[in-house]
């Protein structure tokens, strides 16, 4: 046992000495939650920072008292125990009431943000998201566009056991897909989230959206990307969904409204052409075949 562990430690130390040089940007600075690119994600970030600083403040006070006691009331420093100090109703009431007040002060903004998150009125575009083992299907409801989104080929090759491919050499390793979800910026997009086999969870940190995809249920979520922040936003499945849970990323391509409209039109026509060309396939767009394909490569 001891030998095994020390051997493992030796391997680990070796790996450490080899690995860092290759990577372009350092991960040391990744310490905090993203502020994201939606109003909600920024509100979540603000709440997170608020509760964080509240905890820090309480921690500083409590830890200061503990450290002061440990330093001051040492027997080696000549401290004599005050054995009569067993109870103090006043102090005990204070340290019960003050936290109650802090908690109420925390609960109010949290509840307010939560109400806003749950407000699904006036959405402008609905996309059905279906989780599969292991990939996502996106269906632009009533727009005639549906497609599968899976881990991109390069990441998939590199992530095989002992593949010999350096993950550092793969752009956006494990966070890249073949077909990203394309959405317009400045638009309240509603997601209808479900799953086909086991429970998954659709999470894009930059949007502040994480919602479980549950077979037999349709969950709702929404986001509205800032009009001035088009770009690629990445996330991952956040609920353990089996062997390749770590390999079903999400990429959202937020484009300007015009670009999105053009993309949607082109994509719809493309799919229409495909379905007329091969009517048999149209019944089952990719979904039925896709999971087995992924499984086969895994």
């Amino acid at each position: 046992m001891y030998k095994l562990v020390s051997k493992l430690a030796a391997i680990a130390a070796l790996a450490l000495s080899l690995s860092p040089a290759a990577r372009a940007e350092s991960g040391w600075g990744l310490l905090n939650m993203t502020q994201g690119v939606t109003e909600i994600s920024r509100k979540i970030y603000d709440l997170h920072m608020l509760i964080f600083w509240v905890c820090v403040a309480i921690g500083v006070v409590v830890f200061a008292v503990m450290i002061y006691s440990i330093v001051t009331f040492r027997r080696s420093a000549g401290a004599v125990a005050d054995t009569t100090m067993v109870h103090n109703t006043k102090v005990e009431i204070v340290w019960t009431i003050v936290p109650v007040a802090i908690l109420i002060a925390m609960a109010v903004p949290a509840a307010r943000t939560l109400v806003q998150i749950e407000d699904l009125r006036n959405t402008e575009l609905s996309i059905k998201v279906t989780g599969y083992q292991w990939g996502w299907n996106y269906d632009y409801l009533d727009r005639g566009v549906t497609f599968f989104s899976r881990l991109d080929r390069k990441s998939d090759e590199a992530r095989q056991l002992a593949s010999g491919i350096d993950p550092e050499s793969v752009p956006h390793y494990l966070l890249n897909v073949d077909n990203p979800l394309v959405v317009p910026v400045g638009t309240k997009v509603r997601l209808l989230i479900t799953a086909n086999d086991v429970i998954h969870s659709w999470w894009v940190p930059a949007f502040g959206v994480k919602k479980d995809a549950i077979p037999g249920f349709v969950n709702e979520a929404w986001f509205k990307v800032d009009a001035d922040k088009p770009g690629l936003y990445r996330g991952q499945c956040a609920e353990l969904c089996g062997r390749d849970h770590g390999f079903m990323p999400i990429v959202v391509d937020a484009r300007s409204k015009e670009d999105f409209a053009a993309w949607l039109k082109a994509r719809a026509e493309e799919q229409k052409a495909q379905s007329t060309a091969a009517p048999a396939q149209a019944q089952t767009p990719a979904p039925a075949a896709a999971p087995t394909q992924v499984a086969a490569t895994g």
Binding site: G27, V100, G208, N219, E220, G242
Partner: protein, 535 residues
């Protein structure tokens, strides 16, 4: 009857006990059973730890180097089951066995044969669980939370896991019954409930939690079993069932369960801090009520483990508020412990060091718990390494450090020997430093967006994962000091006096070290009880 006279003759003051293997297999003595529980917990701790080492090894670098993703999932799943049901819970029962009769002025536990049964179920349960690694399809890989439908995809390991959990649950329930019956019936005259040591109080409440929720877990996993084998569809949407219902039932068990893991730790810390501060615990009654409040609240907060499943707004608000309420009694406990140190006369032997470390690091785990209660923020934290960091902070420097502190506190009492204090302090410092190197960076990883339960990650997470892994290996290696110190102490050492620590109060310190085989054959006198009950 002949039988009675024979029994009466047998139970004189001599330490009659069977020898060899019979002493252990037929054990009915609370100390022998307690020892077996503790040794078993230690074995499971190292086995679960070995799995964790492989997990940290695989996570040392992006890319898959050592294990297949399916096996990785088995490792995380079995690591959790071993640590929760195999290490921490049996360790608590072992400490309860050793200490409760001695602390209450009783000769033994109330139900010694039940005690034997509840221990001996465990080796079978865990043999079954570990055997799943060798069956087709491998060990369970659906997480210790066993969410369907994923869990239903399990192979031959599936029914074995469920039967193992049934056995663990049965063992826990029997142990809990024994604790409650002992506390209710075996207290020495004059040992009123509010004179009991806080360790006994915390265990009394824990035992009620166990009896309340272990059957719920048994029910939930049985429903999984019938869904898989007998055509029911409790959790299958296509048959009119509800996969989310499992989560509700599971966490109705699961949240009290996490307090089952931590409440006895509160009890132990409440014993150690006053002993080394040389003054009574501050706010004894408030401590009892705080434990009881936490236990009550644990039944109405379960859905905070599942804020992302899509609950109604009112439900989310309720569970957020009820969860935040837990901070109040928990705060009371931390403040009382701090006030116990205030104006004390502190010394820093190994048990005290572990208790102080608990005080700081458990509080950090409590802070991240409070953060997780804030629903909108939880949407970002849920199922990330932030959660992993949170529960490891409350379970490792929380529950595990309390167990270690407890062992270092009572070991001289149990063995009659002092242990190597210098080595024990080394064990403490290495553990405390590396537990932070191991788990603190996981807060960063979670906040930066790394999901939990993944065998491989995007390259930007490499740096902090490497720090965490190095901390993990160092923490793991440091733990080998623990059995070595204990073994050395069992084999010999300076003789320990009855009151091993000058500031220690409680009836166990009125008995010689090591205590007689049947702890209190005659109840302690009122004077002894009064001396012991100086909380």
């Amino acid at each position: 009857m002949a039988y009675d006279t024979h029994a009466a003759v047998d139970h004189d003051d001599h330490d009659h006990k069977p020898h060899g293997w019979r002493r252990w297999v037929y054990a009915t003595n609370h100390k022998d059973i307690g020892t077996m529980y503790l040794v078993f917990a230690g074995l499971m701790f190292f086995l679960g730890g070995a799995l964790a080492m492989v997990i940290r090894l695989e996570l040392f670098k992006p890319g898959l180097q050592f294990v297949d993703p399916g096996l990785f999932n088995s490792f995380t799943t079995v690591h959790a089951l071993l640590m929760i049901f195999g290490a921490v819970m049996p360790a608590w029962t072992g400490l309860a066995n050793w200490l409760i009769p001695m602390q209450l002025g009783a000769p033994d536990m109330a139900l010694p044969r039940l005690n034997n049964l509840s221990f001996w179920i465990l080796p079978f349960a865990f043999t079954l669980l570990i055997a799943t690694f060798f069956v087709p399809g491998g060990a369970p890989a659906g997480g210790w939370t066993m969410y369907p439908p994923l869990m239903l995809q399990g192979g031959a390991s599936f029914p074995m896991t469920i039967f193992a959990i049934h056995l663990m649950g049965a063992s826990s329930i029997l142990g809990a019954i024994n604790v409650i019956v002992t506390i209710m019936n075996m207290r020495a005259p004059g040992m009123t409930l509010l004179r009991m040591p806080l360790f006994v109080w915390s265990w009394l409440i824990t035992a009620y939690l166990l009896i309340a929720v272990m059957p719920v877990l048994a029910g939930a996993v049985t429903m999984l079993l019938t869904d898989h084998f007998f055509g029911t569809t409790f959790f299958t949407a296509s048959g009119g069932g509800d996969p989310v219902m499992f989560q509700h039932i599971f966490w109705f068990f699961g949240h009290p369960e996490v307090y089952i893991l931590i409440l006895p730790a509160f009890g132990i810390v409440s014993e150690i801090l006053p002993a080394f501060a040389r003054k009574p615990i501050f706010g004894y009654e408030a401590m009892v009520y705080a434990i009881a409040s936490i236990a009550f609240l644990s039944f109405i907060v379960w859905a905070h483990h599942m804020f992302t499943v899509g609950m109604p707004l009112a439900g989310q608000l309720f569970f957020m508020l009820s969860t935040m309420l837990i901070a109040i009694p928990t705060g009371v406990k931390v403040f009382n412990w701090t006030a116990t140190l205030w104006k004390g006369s502190l010394t820093f032997e190994a048990p005290m060091l572990f208790a102080l470390s608990f005080l700081f690091l458990f509080t950090i785990g409590g802070f991240s718990g409070l953060m997780l209660a804030i629903v909108p923020a939880d949407y970002q934290y849920q199922d990330t390494y932030f959660v992993v960091a949170h529960f490891h902070y409350v379970l490792v420097p929380g529950a595990v450090f309390a167990i270690m502190g407890g062992v270092y506190y009572w070991l001289p009492k149990w063995t009659g020997h002092m242990y190597d204090m210098r080595l024990a302090k080394w064990h403490f410092w290495l553990s405390t430093i590396f537990v932070n190197v191991l788990f603190f960076p996981q807060h960063f990883l979670g906040l930066a967006g790394m999901p939990r339960r993944i065998p491989d990650y995007a390259v930007q997470f490499t740096d902090w994962n490497q720090v965490s892994s190095i901390g993990g290996f160092a923490f793991g290696l440091s733990q080998f000091l623990f059995p070595y110190i204990i073994w050395k102490c069992v084999r010999g050492g300076a003789p320990a006096p009855a009151r091993v620590w000058e500031g220690a109060h409680g009836l166990e310190w009125e008995l010689p070290s090591p205590p007689p085989f049947h702890s209190w054959t005659e109840p302690p006198t009122p004077e002894i009880i009064a001396r012991g009950a100086e909380h």
